[in-house]
Symmetry: C2
Subunit: 321 residues, 2 copies
């Protein structure tokens, strides 16, 4: 068997790829726009050509083609048939994994957030945990629910849509059409948007975090509402799923204790007869999806326990214990 | 191997027992008070003696002792060590399964709601489903989350506490000390209590249902708020866990379409980008726990697939499809 796989993490506007060895060495990486303005067929062709180019990179390093390919994609994914069913931001419908791969090698397709969760589970903050929530907070909010050691897809691939649970039933209208969704208060985009609307000037979530740390009252109010919404959602998750930890990732988690300290405090207050699970910070950062896709690639190649012995430099200390 | 097991379902005030054969015949049943006023040690002794008496019943029918014992108990259960860790209403702490069994036969202990969910999963409304929520709505509300074919306990046995998720964050105070819990609006007890407070006369949930059906405005308002709270909780469950169905049980589900029709309608309205799972009615009724405990008993005896071939008379038509 060849000693490497090709891994690709497809986002809305750009995608990241890697050539990853059986021992976890990332021998090459690359990034490319998805070109979604060209329509879904062009996006599929772009991914296919990206996979081909990464395989060429691998061949030039190792002298052979890849053992397999792993790809993480947004939207709805059918794990059983390895088909990308639907993605709102890329427009495709029912694309089989083989359409993304110009080589005759095994391939596995995964949902982007769940594949990132697989990465954190095997290689990152959840390394010794069998049951936890991986919650990247970025433009939107969706979670990967790790249950008995594996990301759980649900009945039809729609699990983990925590960004759209109604935390404030009579609250603000979300882009999805519902009212009071977590995402409309607590995504990085929402934090920037809500501050901008009140302060009447544009700002990113990172800027709102800095303003909050500096005591700005408008920023503090917006930040506080995001924390409150998150604490309600995480209390609900904890009461339903009894996780051993919650792993926070994405842009908003970069605020560190400014987010995690008040969140841990409010989460504990929202629980009466049980303790709160510890909050941890994700450790693979923006590479979680690509590294998770490399694990899918090795699984496609028949190496089921890939990653268990990899020694990436990943700390596992809780943000707040 | 002996051809029967002893099964016991322990509730707060009384317990139900059965002698159940390998083919699913319930050869004998019995009921007895837990005697909780006597304290936890007395309750354990009462259960132990109940198990012994049921084994005697089985012996008199079949001529031998039972193959094994299965017991469902309330509170917190550690499946791995078969220990009843804690039960608020019975007062015990850390009781090993063997303390409940006066015979030298294998025994398994299960959480009451999850054991009922196991019953509905193997024998009842979830017979052909691998992923669903079993939601008995009675004095309180807790759910059994069936995930990939088995009731899921969570990290520490605290899963499924859907009765205490904050559906109205600034709502009424729950007995648990939190605000806006589902249970404080939608349990059978809550429906009776909330009507009684407004109408200034005592009523059960069953009476409130009848008054609602007859057009009484106070009853209708209370019923409506229960349905609204349930629709929020089930929307949240659906978005997180993507179940293939929700199986409603307990006293409140006896209202039939008076509950399920408006609930299905509001649940669908609370979901934007995905469809609602169908609502089904639980079919094992008050026997779910005892029948689930009999499956635990057969598992303890090494018959892992017990129940698969049993033909109880259980319809599986959805309440609302």
């Amino acid at each position: 068997m060849s000693d490497y796989v090709v891994a690709v993490d497809v986002g809305g506007t750009s995608m990241k790829g890697g050539v990853v060895t059986r021992s976890g060495e990332v021998a090459a990486t690359d990034r490319r726009p998805t070109g979604r303005e060209g329509g879904p067929d062009a996006v599929v062709a772009t991914i296919r050509s990206f996979v081909g180019d990464l395989a060429d990179r691998g061949s030039s390093i190792f002298g052979t083609g890849p053992a397999a390919v792993g790809i993480a994609v947004p939207g709805l994914v059918d794990d059983a048939t390895a088909t990308a069913l639907y993605a709102a931001n890329l427009g495709w419908r029912d694309v089989p994994a083989t359409d993304f791969v110009p080589l005759d090698v095994p391939a596995l397709l995964g949902h982007d957030v769940r594949t990132g969760g697989l990465g954190e589970s095997v290689l990152g903050a959840g390394r010794e945990l069998s049951d936890f929530l991986f919650l990247p907070i970025g433009t939107g909010i969706a979670g990967a629910m790790i249950i008995t050691g594996e990301p759980y897809a649900g009945t039809s691939g729609w699990s983990g849509e925590i960004g759209h649970i109604p935390v404030f039933p009579d609250g603000e209208t979300c882009a999805c059409g519902q009212t009071g969704c977590l995402e409309t208060y607590a995504s990085a985009s929402a934090v920037g948007r809500r501050y901008s609307a009140r302060a009447d000037r544009p700002a990113t979530a990172k800027e709102v975090a800095a303003l909050t740390a500096a005591g700005d009252p408008v920023a503090t109010a917006v930040w506080d509402e995001a924390v409150e919404a998150l604490s309600l959602a995480l209390a609900t998750y904890t009461l339903l799923l009894d996780p051993s930890a919650i792993v926070l990732g994405g842009g908003l988690a970069e605020a560190g204790p400014l987010l995690s300290a008040p969140l841990a405090e409010r989460l504990a207050k929202r629980l009466s007869f049980r303790s709160a699970p510890p909050l941890r910070r994700a450790v693979l950062g923006v590479d979680a999806g690509m590294l998770g896709a490399s694990l899918l690639g090795w699984r496609a190649a028949g190496v089921r326990d890939a990653g268990a012995s990899w020694t990436l430099d990943v700390p596992t200390t809780p943000m707040v214990s």
